[in-house]
Amino acid sequence: MSAVEACGLTRFFGVYAALRNVSFRVPPGQCVALLGRNGAGKTTLLRLVAGIHSPSEGTLAVFGGDPAKPATRKAIGFLGHGSGLYDELSAEENLMLAAKVYELPDPAAATRRWLERVELDRLARSRPGEFSRGMRQRLALARVLLAQPKLLLLDEPLTALDDRASRMVRDLLEEAHAAGTTLLMSTHHLSEGMEIATHILLLDRGRVAYSGERTAAMLANPAGVYELSGDAA
């Protein structure tokens, strides 16, 4: 069964089609970099797969289920532009909430484990509003990863992070991938994104311009990927 199977996805915002007739398939275990310029439809696609929006036309299945159904969403972890963290709650409380939302058997243990994993255990009682951007992103990722989703959806997870934070986030993602999680992440950081990715899904103005393996040639010349859409970088 595919992790994600999209068939003829179209999504209108008003009369504007953010996605047009998008079809693709992600088998389990892949790490797909979702590429494209601003306005290509990356965020919309991720939101559709996460069940936040519903498609105007076409069908979408995540592990065979409809993401509009809560049971399907249990297998999905989603990290959008925002961290999804509440500034009024402490780091610990934020993770506890997520653990309960995903119905983990032992929320407290999972919370503790993940605070340690992202090296924030000493700040458990601090509020994420006081954190640096890098720390927030680590906590946000812990919030998503602690439910051990089978499919991880990430919207620009590496943006605005310094080297160290970026390294850490990438390590966490690679670890999750190695553990069998399917990843679908949009990125502007071509070279970093491609290093993690096994496959590429390139969107151009709402359409799929390229879908396939990430080749060694792409790694050597990341910007060259845009030529696949017939559009010079």
Partner: protein, 226 residues
């Protein structure tokens, strides 16, 4: 996830956040007290008159205070795109709406039970003679405000005119339940026991709550997922 446990989770989270910051609660209480004070100047009532206008006065205050609370309810989810995360989580849309409605209900009841004694003192009224029935009325009418308000709070959360839209949409819908609440409260504060007429109004209140709770449950997905 079970609908009720999901709702409970959301309600507890919202209450914890609000009781920690008290942003909306402070505003609602301060506003209510100011209104009660202003009304006492505007009407300068003796006790008998005060008993007559009590229902209308209190429910005007509670409805406005409720709007302040409701406006915050979904605004709280906007920073850091928290609403998106909730929608992407396995919590059903129904749980999300009912959890938020329950939190708003609890907060509104807090405001009401803080205001009533103040009202009694300001207007020199002993309002506790039918307190049990009065509590039932407060619970029922406040649930109506909370559930309708939560639905439209969710609908309008992304609009530029969010704060303005909520009263325009919600007040007209609430009119029947507010009429019932006004009438019942006035009689009960006056110390009148329940009679057939008042029971009919109580049934209206119950019916209103049931109808709009069911509609909310039926349309929850449409309200939240666009």
């Amino acid at each position: 996830m079970n609908v009720w446990s999901g709702a409970l989770l959301i309600a507890r989270k919202d209450l914890r956040m609000e009781l920690r910051s008290k942003d909306a609660l402070n505003a609602a209480v301060a506003f209510s007290l100011a209104m009660l004070l202003l009304f006492s100047f505007a009407f300068d009532p003796d006790s008998d008159q005060a008993r007559e206008i009590a229902g209308g006065l209190l429910w005007l205050v509670f409805t406005f205070a409720g709007t302040l609370l409701l406006n915050r309810s979904f605004a709280r989810e906007l920073p850091n795109d928290c609403l998106e995360s909730l929608l992407a989580s396995p919590i059903p849309a129904v749980s999300l709406l009912f959890g938020k409605a329950a939190a708003n209900w609890a907060l509104l009841l807090i405001v009401e039970f803080l205001c009533l004694p103040v009202f009694g003192i300001f207007y020199n009224i002993s309002w506790t003679r039918q307190i049990r029935m009065l509590a039932v009325v407060l619970l029922l009418a406040s649930w109506g405000i909370a559930v309708v308000g939560t639905v439209f709070g969710a609908l309008t959360v992304n609009l530029r005119l969010r704060e303005v839209m909520l009263p325009v949409l919600v007040y007209p819908i609430l009119i029947p339940s507010l009429l019932a609440a006004i009438l019942l409260s006035a009689h009960l504060i006056g110390g009148q026991p329940m009679n057939e007429d008042l029971e009919a109004w109580l049934r209206l209140l119950v019916g209103f709550d049931i109808i709009f709770s069911l509609l909310t449950a039926a349309l929850a997905d449409k309200v939240l997922v666009g």
